[in-house]
Symmetry: D2
Subunit: 306 residues, 4 copies
């Protein structure tokens, strides 16, 4: 069993920490939210009053934070002229499960290696549901041996663990996957709307395309058209799920990387334009579309009132 | 067993007619190509010298033609002041397996019904391979009872038979599916190219996305990146398969319908722009990209020579 | 002075016919609308009860109709086994001022030539205002000598007369211009919305861009942002002007031609997708955005309510 | 006459400094390039060995640098625990003529104000030609009184001086203008290519659209189609002019701002995708399309070899 310093107890981090505890790992936690700390303590964690304090006596540090700036702040911001990386014991394994830019992940891994530490980028997919059920997918970038060392920790929280390549590769895999997902979802919504406009039953059309060459993750198990599938966000007014704002964040990571590399991403770029139009056009004074599930892009393609 | 008049013995129609014969149906054939007629005759068909002659004494007429104009010409063009529809016995079942505009399919079905004939639109997916193996998918529009009557004929040529809805609905399902397919394929190619540009192995990235939310028909079984998958067009210089020109034709059907209806299809439209750029930019005096498989869109996203 | 048979007295055709009369031409008119006929008669035209009757004793036939199908119907539909073209005196000059597909214009010109008639395609720009003021722009396709013969007639209705090339070239020039115009207008609206979102005054930003490399017809004289310019549709709730529905029609002509030729038009295609989204998303049970001026695309880019 | 510390003597900065000298201003210069320093010295400038040294005894500091990171480095990087801003005399006027993110410009202006300094963002348009001729356009963000103080300096280098609004507004105006310019140029290239494909003479079509509603800066004076206009990059193989790489940089600034604000920019995004495809697809081992003029986007739309 590992001794783990866990930093970031949000919607994802909270249940991930609980799953680590449930599998018998020793977990010290830090978060800015008192409520999150209390909940983790109740589940058996040791609460700490700072990120540094959470890492004392641990051999694994796990971060699960909203964006690259937070991750850099935790590892690199100086307190007493020394940053967290300066104060960890050599050989400590760092697992950053946040979704951040691949470039940032690479420079953090370098900064860690320069201090005798080992860092893996290990962003997840599977959402809050997967975090709670312990069925997350991890896309891991970094050294293969380090991944083997991390495996028992990751397996306590997830089901599929992929080694994507060297440092940063986990973030690359995630951003490519999610950019493609945005295209699948908006393309599916567009095709369903056209079929319905032409008089087809969306459930019949979905069934045909699923078994044909139009089959894809969005259509097959996360149908965006209301009334076609039970238990998906489209069945409950697009509440919950994977938020439009998070999809926009992930598209930003992919498109920023593409721009930096001079790689053309016309469909991903258009998907971002459409998600942004969706949020701008369908938000109202009382509803922020950014807080809806990303399958709500279906709304953009619905016909005007007759 | 049915007596079938079969009109149109191209790359698809030829093997479809042979499968009908192999299952014991009685088939009379017509085509403008002497070679195609000879081949069908060798396989056991009765050859006819005109479309009308092929339909004599049959209870089913099947058309498999390149475009709507050909289908209209066969059924509606006048010879001796009467068109083919005027000369068929009431109750004859017409199966048009061509891929044409839904609007044309609907007006043909109306013209048939006005003469006591029953018409189904039944476009296929599965390509030449599926036609030869008898594993085509049929997307059928029209009356449900007529579909039951057609089922033994269709089952001699295909595996999956979907009832999409009333007249024209088969064409709608196919155009929606293929528009979505163009989006899946180009989105997949774009995501793979970005990942490779960032240093990932395309096979590793493909494997990760297949098992994540990026999974889709193009990625899972028809990978466009050379070297990732065996037995697909990408493994043989994009020869054969489903041609870029055919994808452009199908996109045209979908986008024309969308324009007529005032339905926005930004991703399908962009996919057509990209396929057209691909054909324009990568064709040379000796190679017409339109004759390559549609997964060759991958080439559009490859980095320039270093 | 010419003797002119004028067919099609709509919003454009009505004032055009009046300008011909005002310049002393002899005009016989036909339209399906009794009101339009009465108005033209009041202005001094001879009313006719059919297209054929309107052309009797004339040396010029002018058509101003909504779409290609109407133009084909007027010239090619048979009555008594003969179409209008069959019944005109050899040497009659045909001026089709409708906006139709270049392909249709070419085949009509051929059909006319085969009967010893001379046809020019001469679509206009300038809108209802230009039609009333007699300041239309004509883009003319066809023989140069015929254009000289037509010039006095065209000059009675317009100010700029361009010879675009052979038959059909007038339609090509118009569709290219209007496709570009859709791009200018939506690009201008998008840029203004971004600047305003960043805190700029739209009038100041417009003024800067007009005098810089962003200057264009839409920005310079037809500003889409409400409150920047007087006397434009944006100053009156986008009422009147050049309707979204007409822009969609013209985009359809350009994109259909591009698809037929295998020419990629990504920006024109996106503009159509955006105009269609605009119409779908902003129309309500009581307002059809298709009836608003095309500068109303600005609404698509406005921020959600704060 | 002002005493000016001028930092950044590149393709733009070099001629700008020379124009200041020519108008009698006292100029001290710094650049990392020895050759640039020598050239400025020859023109009458005092050369300095550091940015700080260049600002000694001056009342105006002018920076003309490639990107935001360079500007931040000059003003904010610490040497001896103090950055340049800490060492300037209160009341010094800072003119940053670089093209950088509006956000960066705003935070620099704040940092300057906190130290009793006055900063204006004053990016330019007009290119190297305008810099040499002293006919640049300045788009200025910041205090209006400070702009009046800066005016004699700016007028020594340019012709049009616009006050766009408060700090950062100059950068906003420039990025909006250049995003729109990318749309104008690619839209114009697309429309010309379609017309030519339909048989029109590009010069005739250009002439018609210039005088119609398709008129815009790119078409009117910077025609991208080879052979239409003399003296433009299209007339010399797209050498020189405003580079594709610089347009991509400016599009990046606009699209990053739009993403940060949640403002949809579909046409600007597509223009970036097209410029990137152009660079990727048309670059070869010996030619980097990024070094060609941005009107070379015309190449993307040319038909394949016949």
């Amino acid at each position: 069993m590992a001794r783990i310093g866990f930093i970031g107890l949000g919607n994802m981090g909270g249940p991930m920490a609980r799953n680590l505890l449930a599998k018998g790992h020793e977990v010290a936690v830090f978060d800015l939210s008192e409520a999150a700390l209390v909940a983790a303590e109740t589940a058996g964690a040791r609460r700490a009053e700072s990120a540094l304090a959470a890492t004392e006596g641990t051999d694994v540090v796990l971060t699960m934070l909203p964006a690259g700036a937070h991750v850099e702040a935790v590892y690199l911001a100086s307190t007493d002229q020394r940053c967290l990386l300066d104060q960890l014991a050599p050989g400590t394994l760092l697992l950053d499960c946040s979704t951040i830019a691949a470039e940032t992940a690479r420079s953090l891994a370098q900064a860690a290696a320069a201090r005798g530490l080992i860092m893996l980028d290990a962003p997840v997919s599977g959402g809050v549901g997967g975090a709670e059920a312990g069925t997350l997918t991890f896309m891991v970038g970094g050294d293969g041996d380090a991944l083997e060392r991390a495996r028992p920790v990751l397996e306590a929280m997830g089901k599929n663990i992929f080694h994507a390549g060297p440092a940063g590769a986990g973030q690359v895999a995630k951003m490519c996957n999610n950019m493609l997902l945005a295209v699948l979802m908006s393309g599916t919504a567009e095709a369903l709307a056209l079929g319905v406009r032409e008089g087809l039953d969306p459930a019949v059309l979905s069934d045909i395309m699923k078994q044909s060459s139009g089959g894809n993750w969005a259509l097959n198990g996360y149908n965006p058209y209301p009334g076609v599938m039970d238990g998906v966000p489209a069945a409950r007014g697009y509440e919950g799920g994977f938020l439009v704002d998070l999809m926009l964040k992930d598209l930003g990571l992919a498109l920023d990387a593409a721009a930096r590399l001079g790689q053309s991403t016309p469909l991903g770029s258009l998907a971002r334009s459409l998600y942004t139009l969706h949020k701008q056009g369908n938000s109202t004074a009382t509803q922020d579309v950014g807080r809806l599930d990303f399958s709500s892009i279906q709304q953009l393609f619905l016909a005007p009132p007759a």
